[in-house]
Amino acid sequence: MHDVIIIGAGIVGCAAAYSLSKYKLRVLVVEQGPDVAMAASRANSGIIHAGYDPPPGTLMADLNVQGNAMYPDLCRKLDVPFRNNGSLVVAREGEEEQLEELLRRGRANGVPDLAILGRDEVLNREPNIAKDVAAALYAPTAGLISPWEMTLAFAQVAAVNGVTFRFNTRVTGVLTEDDRIAGLETTAGRLAARVVINAAGVHADLLAHMAGAERYEILPRKGQYLLLDKELDGWVKHTVFPLPNPKSKGVLVLPTVDGNILAGPTAEDILDREDNSTTREGLARVRESALQLFPDLPLNRVISSFAGIRAVPVDGDFIIRSSARIWGWIDAGGIQSPGLTAAPAIADKLIRLVAGLIPLQPREEHHDRRSTLRLRELPLQERQRWIQRNPLYGRIICRCEGVSEGEIVDALHGPVSATTLDGVKQRTRAGAGRCQGGFCQPRLLTIVARELGISPCAVTKAGPGSPLVAGRLNKGGAGDEE
């Protein structure tokens, strides 16, 4: 019996798990994918928004501004790189009034230190920006993180505090008795629980329906992105937005916390909730829109493209509530942008909702810190110390990102460790650089197999059904199955 089961190991589910892990509760996270942050939490802009965008009085506005204030401290505690780069919303001549409107909205939401900058100041801060910019709304509290790393950090600390994670497990039914939650039916069998938190992202409305809770509707909306080489680090400094349109914040151009440049997303309403494929038209639109902000953006330095699906609530605002119909069912649905920013504040709100159902007793002793070894960020002389401890830290496997075999081995062990090649890539950046794994992938395959104690033929890119190779060579040809 679990006190709380969280459905979904995205940023919201993992932030909730982290917050709940500070209490004496048996908590389980079930996730249909092979790892944390497999959907919207992986493929988004990685922005910690200041909070001038959501309409005042909404949950989105409140939780955005609260979450923004929580991140600098959280990132220090959990050793997640945070870059407080500030954001700019740029306007052309004749559009300045719209900046004033955003400024008013931001002040109503309680966003600190907003200012409107004139053309010269914008060009001074962002020298490569389009020369026809007239003014910009500057939000100094906006920042950048790796959304994936943040989700992992929440999950790892939660795991150290006793939360269990079940990956590759899909929820197929919700068990209730007398309108109370009894548990979940999953592909890994029945799981009993007193409380269920539905943080299933783009599938949350379907699960709420399945549970018999109040209905709502989520529209899947695709966003496509282009990622540029990090040799361009510094070319774009702020998170640069065009003026927002009714549907989205538009296609933006920003640095990533790792020093790449990111351009995107598009905003395309789609039907298939898992269709995260990129399209020729979509990527063309990203290029076109990005060039309007940065006419000289070196698009020949694109190293990768990807798409994510945001869970857009039809009614506009986040849906975070305890069900009045099904005791023990808590929804955290429709968490689209600024969901990443709001996540720690959403987690706090979820704790209060859980406390309204079952008693919470703080754990006297719990972990609230994490540290990660990132050798590439250390001066070479410090690397010497680590190599003396473990020679594998001196064997560089990924040349583009300078990742050692020791770091890869570390990623495959310990709490919420990698079980797939993508998992290793996310945790270490091995294969995430400009050659996109062309050089290191065959080497990673053998290291992952060795460390997990499985055949290289069983190593997957991203979970069951995605093997990297078809088999071993044999004398007769055509490869052996294993």
Partner: protein, 399 residues
Amino acid sequence: MGAALEARRLGVGDILVIERDKFLGGILQQCIHNGFGLHLFGEELTGVEYAQRFIDAMQREGIAVMTDTMVMEAEPGMVRAVNADGVHEIQARAIILAMGCRERTRGAINIPGSRPAGVYTAGAAQRLINIEGFLPGRRAVILGSGDIGLIMARRLTLEGAKVEAVAEIMPWSNGLARNIAQCLDDFNIPLLLSHTVVEIHGHKRLEGVTLARVDDNLQPIPGSERYIPCDLLLLSVGLIPENELSRQLGVAMDPVSQGPVVDQYLHTSVDGVFACGNVVHVHDLVDFVTLESRRAAAGAARWLARPKRGRCIPLKAGDNVSYVVPQRISVPAEEDVTLLLRVRRPLRKPEFILRSGEEQVLRRVRPVALPAEMVEIKVPAAAIPGAGELEILCRGEKR
């Protein structure tokens, strides 16, 4: 290794070769096909055999080697490398850059679609098969008709996989003619010119690709799409010189060759830093890489004996020439100078003209020139002027 051996032959005593892989030889170690060494040894060797000749010679000469070692930082006069023994700071009066190149990826050419397992660069697949011993897939489409793609079409077929097609976006192949004959024609593998992959399908493992014909502007023609089921897509869509260390050293770069700007001694813009092989420009034959490495070694040896450099005159790539190496010439030229260049498009009876201002310095006619095949032109030392600017251009009939 070619540069190290030549430097030793020229009397340089203290030489160190640093290699990131576990063994010497680089990419040659996964090239188990033949065709290497025809120019240099007059024999058809495999890549592995070609490399072994150099490895054996290195051992005979007792040249120091650090394998499994990655150079992390470089500055003029010094490199810092990392291996399992620790961090090494190594001083050198001359540094020769020979890091080779890497393959362009799916991201660089922006193929839309999903992101399943089963999409590999041709070189990564070659390593998986020839060194690690795995079959990456059973039913393949290959995008790009560069030499590695062609060779992998044959290699996969020999291992029992079915290669459905090799698609090439250009109206001509970028591979050597002999590879098209021996790797595709001999195995009835269709080469689809003016075709590209417009979409990748499959959520977990690759399930298929959509191919389309392209127009003269290389844009897909609507209505020409066709779906091919496959579990493997290999990309052979170009090579990029790997110049991260060169940039760290502050070496001036040629935006077209994507390698350092060098003179005829393969001396870069930074004193004491030389470069050779695919890091300078992508070659099609290893024999030419070796010859270039010897010139770089000679340049380095000359620099060690007398660390002074003369004046340089620029050599520009003119009409129909995409790039030329060297991009500048130290004058007065003491020896004949070898120019290596590529044409922009296939030309019949091309006429190569080297000129200084309006004055023709040299004229060479060849039967044919293809972008896929590097052109070598020897210029006698006496023909090179002591001042001004040089330009090499090409005239010829379109093929």
